[in-house]
């Protein structure tokens, strides 16, 4: 009659898991990484590094395959001469020196600007304001197809959209000289006593950039730009227009070939399809940053690992210097747990980064030494993530040594917290962690500090520290989060509170925290527009919610939640293991409660795969239920020893309870008592209230059998209250039933009135039982 399972083995967002995100969201270049919100920082980093990537080569005198077009040209011809078959036309030139290129989209923007200037005062205030708000994202954003641009303008000012279209049409359908004329006219906007555009304004800078870039183009480039513009315009005019030349070529063989090629190209998202033209640098950056932030926040929306890798390979094939793609490819490999290629990509990224780092020396940075230590740090993180703790430690030592040599305290802090993670598996490193928190606060790294606080809280919770202190600590870190609007840490903190309350057996509080998180509007949503709700914190909270419902017998609701989880976190995503475990645990509980032990037994294997200790424990329970006492006892003893070693108190207590049950089942109540008392002492010490009341019930039962019902009633009084408040519906029933039994047992000496009271108890416990049964019947109509 005891509950079979008691272990909510910790399912809070572990610090390791939580921290998994920290390097990912902050590419390793900067100490400032912790302070910034991931996606924006990522993109910023991309643009910064991307733009300065090439300049370094200029420093090294005449680096081969130089970026000067002339040099590259020479090399092409020479190579053609020497080895006509071997040239792939891949000239290894780093053309990142020039930041802005005139693209057809930019041309359209220029047209828009010039039309804006021409319209001048005709626009009313509202339209003007709307347009001004539109312009900035247009200028800074990636290239987009003309139709989308036109739509955007139309929404602000239909008249202007029309005139832009006409102007573009004139240029595109005219001659080359129209375009040249257009650019000549552009520079007029700066002249005059009262120029339309101020030279140093955002728009002025953009215009001047463009004019400069245009003037730099060679004749053939100008011609190419013009044809590209025509194509851009034509694509908009008739979207699915098939070139006639293509038709001629499309013979049967050609179709075959096309098929083959198309099979290779995995269908992409609409955005990729719509801009099948060349990717501009900004577009590529945008693509990378978008995918990176999706990977972090909402994996399901990102491209599948395979197709993302294909995209990246494509990008890299044409542009080996686009190092950030390597980092994304590293993240992508992490998704599929591919150690080999993730290491490869990571190291490749840093080999490239070292190049850009050297250049930043002039900016007062300390050069590539910095990227070196972050390289080692990231390598350590990688090994940590794959569970190679020894390797991670070696890498960390390296990072620490280099950081120490160059007095980089920020990097040292990062190292320290990773060191904590890698050593956590070996021994308790609270001291290390406390130190880390203090130092991080001192160096102004709130992200790191509050991660540290969170993992400290977790450790302390396991170590049985007082709840109020833990909650205080969490509150303090929450203050930090809100102050720096670290929304994901807020989520984690709430999830952690849920888990702590569950650990302490306060299901109502846990429920409340879970609901808080689920109904909270993420800060991220306001800032970036990315719904940040597919993170680990959400998975944890939802899992707890499902289990809480299952405990109360609402299996339909629980399975509803699990179904939702499955949709949100598909089976091969990062956090899927969480719900898999919970799903099986719930099913197991149910099968045990229904007495269908063979089903429960079949679930054990699945649970063991996800969590070996949990699996062992469940196995023992099934054995116990099937009356294979000896095997069960053996297994439990083994588990007990193991768990005492790894200090998993929760399981220890549960195991003790099960052992006691084994004893009283074999009618050895006197032996069971000391075991139960030990369990009680443990659960009191670690303030695991739920387990405590569970133990008390067991104790009471033993005493009842031993024939001291009055004593039993006394101790039951302390267990019944928390049990009724927080317990599962089955436990409530059991508790009431036990009380009733005791009442009955002690009636011999009781008065009439007390007997009535006892009957009442029996009645109420029956109601609970009935309720529970009814709920179960409701779930399984066929029974």
């Amino acid at each position: 009659m005891m509950r079979h399972t008691m272990c909510y083995s910790w399912c809070g967002p572990g610090p390791a898991a939580a921290r998994n995100d920290s390097p990912r969201l902050s590419p390793p270049a900067g100490p400032e990484r912790a302070e910034h919100k991931s996606s924006s920082h990522w993109s910023r980093l991309l643009s910064r590094d991307g733009s300065r990537g090439g300049d370094w080569l200029a420093g090294v005198a005449g680096f081969p395959g130089g970026r000067r077009p002339g040099a590259a040209m020479a090399s092409v011809h020479e190579s053609l001469y020497f080895n006509p078959m071997m040239t792939n036309g891949v000239v290894h030139a780093n053309v990142f020196g020039i930041k802005d290129w005139v693209t057809p989209y930019k041309m359209a923007l220029l047209v828009l600007l010039s039309e804006l200037g021409r319209a001048g005062s005709q626009l009313d205030q509202l339209e003007r304001r709307r347009l001004n708000r539109l312009l900035l994202p247009l200028l800074q954003g990636p290239d987009m197809p003309l139709s989308r641009l036109r739509k955007a303008i139309e929404e602000c000012c239909p008249n202007l959209a029309g005139s832009v279209h006409i102007r573009l049409k004139l240029i595109a359908e005219g001659e080359l000289k129209d375009m040249e004329q257009f650019f000549d006219d552009l520079s007029d906007s700066f002249s005059g006593t009262e120029p339309e555009v101020h030279k140093t304004s955002v728009i002025g800078l953009f215009l001047r950039h463009m004019i400069l870039a245009y003037n730099k183009l060679s004749f053939s480039q100008v011609y190419k730009l013009y044809t590209a513009l025509q194509q851009y315009f034509l694509n908009d005019e008739k979207k699915c227009g098939i070139d006639e030349n293509d038709m001629e070529l499309t013979s049967t063989e050609e179709l075959d070939g096309k098929m083959e090629k198309e099979e290779l190209d995995v269908p992409l998202r609409e955005e990729e399809i719509s801009c099948s033209g060349p990717l501009s640098q900004k577009q590529a950056e945008y693509f990378l940053s978008q995918q990176a932030s999706l990977l972090k926040n909402d994996e399901t929306k990102a491209l599948t690992p395979g197709s993302l890798q294909k995209e990246l390979n494509n990008l890299l094939k044409f542009n080996p210097d686009f190092a950030e793609a390597h980092y994304l490819s590293y993240l992508n490999s992490l998704r599929v747990h591919d150690v080999f290629s993730s290491t490869h990509s990571l190291l490749h990224y840093f080999d490239r980064l070292i190049l850009t780092g050297a250049e930043s020396k002039s900016n007062g940075d300390e050069g590539y030494g910095r990227s070196l230590r972050y390289a080692a740090l990231n390598l350590a993180a990688l090994h940590c993530r794959f569970g190679h703790y020894q390797q991670a430690e070696l890498a960390l030592q390296e990072a620490i040594r280099i950081a120490q040599e160059s007095n980089d305290h920020v990097c040292l802090q990062h190292c320290l917290s990773w060191l904590h993670i890698s050593e956590q598996k070996i021994f308790d490193s609270c001291v290390l962690l406390e130190h880390s928190v203090n130092k991080s606060l001192h160096f102004g790294l709130p992200y790191l500090a509050s991660l540290g606080i969170q993992s400290l809280v977790q450790q302390r919770a396991f170590a049985g520290k007082a709840a109020n202190k833990l909650m205080d600590a969490l509150k303090d870190s929450d203050l930090l989060h809100w102050k720096h609007s670290l929304s994901e840490l807020i989520d984690i903190s709430i999830a952690q509170k849920t888990a702590i309350w569950r650990l302490y057996g306060r299901s109502t509080m846990a429920l409340q925290q879970a609901q808080t998180l689920l109904s909270m509007n993420s800060l991220e949503a306001v800032n970036v527009g990315v719904q940040q709700n597919n993170t680990e914190a959400f998975a944890v909270v939802l899992c707890h919610l499902a289990e809480l419902h299952a405990e109360q017998g609402y299996f339909a609701a629980a399975s509803e939640i699990l179904k939702h989880l499955k949709e949100r976190f598909p089976p091969n995503s990062q956090h899927a293991q969480l719900w898999m475990l919970f799903d099986q645990k719930i099913q197991f509980e149910r099968a045990m409660n229904d007495g269908r032990y063979h089903i429960a037994d079949s679930l054990v294997a699945g649970i063991t795969a996800l969590n070996s200790i949990e699996g062992m424990y469940r196995k023992a329970i099934v054995l116990k239920a099937q009356n294979q006492m000896l095997e069960a006892h053996k297994l439990l003893q083994k588990l007990l020893i193991h768990c005492q070693e790894i200090k998993n108190t929760e399981i220890v207590i549960s195991v003790l309870l099960s052992v006691a049950e084994l004893y009283w089942r074999s009618s050895c109540h006197t032996i069971a008592l000391p075991v139960l008392l030990q369990a009680l002492a443990f659960s009191r010490e670690y303030s695991l209230q739920y387990l405590a009341s569970e133990t008390v019930l067991n104790l009471a039962f033993s005493q009842l059998i031993l024939g001291i019902p009055e004593q039993v009633l006394n101790i039951l009084h302390m267990a019944i209250e928390p049990g009724l408040a927080h317990g599962a519906v089955l436990d409530k029933g059991c508790a009431m039933f036990l009380v009733a039994k005791c009442q009955v047992a002690s009636t011999a000496s009781y008065t009439q009135q007390k007997k009535a009271e006892a009957l009442e108890y029996v009645g109420s416990s029956q109601t609970v039982m009935a309720l529970m049964l009814a709920s179960r019947m409701y779930e399984n109509p066929q029974q």
Binding site: P64, F82, M85, P278, L315, D351, L379
Partner: protein, 537 residues
């Protein structure tokens, strides 16, 4: 170069058909344009020609024109990312036309070759292999098709499944591909049989043999063959970069300088020439100039792999680590299997004092050359720095087992054993080391020889093997740094001997091979496989 030779060969062949005669004018005109690299023009005048040769030239001109335009486009692109998307537009059309002809079986050997090239450019390598095999059947003497085939075959297994025509050309091909696949022994055998079959005067074969010896680091043999080659073919530029590498390794300054001057006179705008000059400057420690020449080589041919790696080495010498990393990375991008570049990257990071980080690179290099002791020694050193002595021992042992080039593995192994207080193993290693050194015949000034003798003397002394101990101590006396210790030890031995004259004389084991020691553990450990999997992520 190869092509014009081919074309002239076609033209003079006895199979001069009537069709050819009809197209002769157009063909000759087009050929002249082709030689002037006016590909479009050549193609235009060949439009209507029916003969096979004219058709090949027509298609080939179109192909080359597409390639040339593609390269030009690359320079003129409108943005860095667009650059890579430039394609040879002609390829698709060519493929359609050629595949039609192919189906109708109207293609001759050259046509098939071109078709294969087009397919390869379209990344359809499987189809390309089939077509090239067909081409070799139709026209076995066209080396170009064989070469292309060579580029497409990546391992021995693939080679097995090819059905190649049974001609003497096949032998050349096999020898070539064995060299490419680093199966040097087989390659050498093939070349030898070719020489025996009557190709003894072929400079090509001689050069290939020299390169093969270079690949297995048989430097002396390679050098002598190259010298022979230079005599036979004094104006040869091909392969001279390999020759210069050999001279560099042996630090033969005058020879290298002579070679550099000579080549510079012949043609200074050749990749090989630049490479030789680069090596020359590098040997003279003028690393900036060396790097400059390697850069020039790369400008001449960006796909010339060796120069990237060599430039990396130069930057390393100049202590410009970031540039070195960059250069090595480029080399790897051009060829992922370039073990020197991986090794260089490892070295760079080792210099930056990141032993753990460089493990990865050394491992890659080791994977590519599993039997090269240098990578293994490097790996061992890294493990030693990381205090992972077990792995380090494995590496050194393995390095010794695969034939240590630098003869340092054993000493390092011995020192490790010494550190771990495994004196017996340490002594064995030293013994083997000394045997190795002396069996080579040349007694190079190996610093470690004295250390080895000193340790051995002390070891025997501890074991109370007075004869051996005194022999080793005497050896010690012939080295400057251990002389005093040797003398002191000799005195001690004499003293102790006098004390216990009777007890110790009965043990009389020969000097260098104490049978009890060398027999017990070496053979078993020799077979132990190198198991680094515990540390390989």
């Amino acid at each position: 170069v190869c092509l014009s030779f081919l074309i002239s060969k076609v033209f003079n062949s006895p199979l001069f058909l009537q069709e050819d005669a009809r197209d002769l004018d157009a063909y000759t005109l087009a050929k002249s344009y082709f030689d002037l690299k006016e590909y479009d023009r050549a193609a235009y005048f060949l439009r209507g020609c029916k003969s096979q040769k004219a058709y090949f030239l027509y298609m080939y001109s179109r192909y080359l024109s597409g390639e040339k335009k593609k390269d030009d486009e690359t320079v003129d692109s409108l943005g860095p990312l667009e650059k890579g998307q430039v394609k040879n537009e002609a390829l698709r059309e060519l493929r359609v036309e050629l595949s039609k002809k192919h189906k109708a079986q109207e293609l001759d050997g050259f046509g098939l070759y071109l078709y294969g090239v087009v397919l390869r450019k379209l990344d359809l390598s499987k189809e390309a292999i089939d077509v090239f095999v067909e081409a070799t059947h139709v026209l076995p003497l066209h080396w170009g098709a064989w070469l292309e085939l060579c580029n497409l075959i990546t391992d021995k297994e693939m080679l097995k499944f090819l059905s190649l025509p049974d001609t003497w050309m096949k032998e050349f091909f096999l020898a070539h591909i064995y060299t490419e696949l680093q199966l040097i022994e087989e390659a050498l055998q093939k070349y030898q049989s070719l020489i025996d079959a009557g190709f003894s005067k072929s400079t090509y074969i001689i050069s290939q043999i020299a390169v093969a010896y270079h690949n297995i680091r048989d430097i002396d043999k390679a050098l002598s063959i190259f010298n022979e080659l230079r005599k036979q073919d004094p104006y040869r530029i091909e392969n001279m970069d390999t020759f210069s590498n050999l001279l560099y390794v042996r630090s033969m300054k005058p020879e290298l300088s002579y070679l550099a001057h000579n080549l510079c006179e012949i043609d200074k705008y050749r990749v090989e020439t630049c490479c030789v000059i680069g090596n020359y400057y590098s040997l003279r420690s003028q690393h900036e100039k060396a790097a400059l020449y390697f850069q020039r080589a790369l400008k001449l041919n960006p796909r010339y792999l060796g120069a990237w790696t060599l430039m990396g080495h130069e930057y390393m010498e100049m202590k410009n680590t970031s540039a070195a990393i960059q250069a090595y990375r480029h080399a790897i991008e051009v060829n992922k299997r370039d073990y020197r570049a991986w090794y260089g990257l490892g070295q760079t990071y080792e210099i930056l004092k990141m032993p753990f980080y460089c493990l990865y690179y050394y491992r890659r290099a080791h994977q590519l050359r599993p039997n090269d002791s240098r990578m293994l020694v490097a790996l061992g050193e890294c493990y030693e720095k990381l205090n992972q002595l077990v792995e380090a021992k494995k590496c050194y042992w393995r390095a010794y087992a695969v034939g240590d080039v630098e003869k340092m593995a054993l000493v390092k192994l011995a020192k490790l054993h010494e550190q771990l207080n495994e004196s017996e193993q340490a002594a064995q290693c030293y013994i083997k080391y000394i045997q190795d050194i002396y069996s080579c015949g040349e007694i190079v000034e190996h610093l470690e020889v004295s250390t080895a003798f000193r340790y051995l003397a002390q070891y025997y002394f501890k074991c109370k093997l007075w004869d051996e101990a005194s022999a080793c101590a005497q050896k010690c006396c012939s080295f400057n740094d251990t002389r005093e210790e040797g003398k002191a030890l000799l005195r001690q031995i004499l003293q102790l001997r006098n004390q216990g004259e009777t007890s110790s004389t009965e043990i009389a084991t020969p000097f260098f091979l104490p049978a009890s020691l060398s027999a017990n553990s070496t053979p078993t450990r020799r077979v132990s496989p190198l198991n680094l999997s515990s540390v390989t992520p």
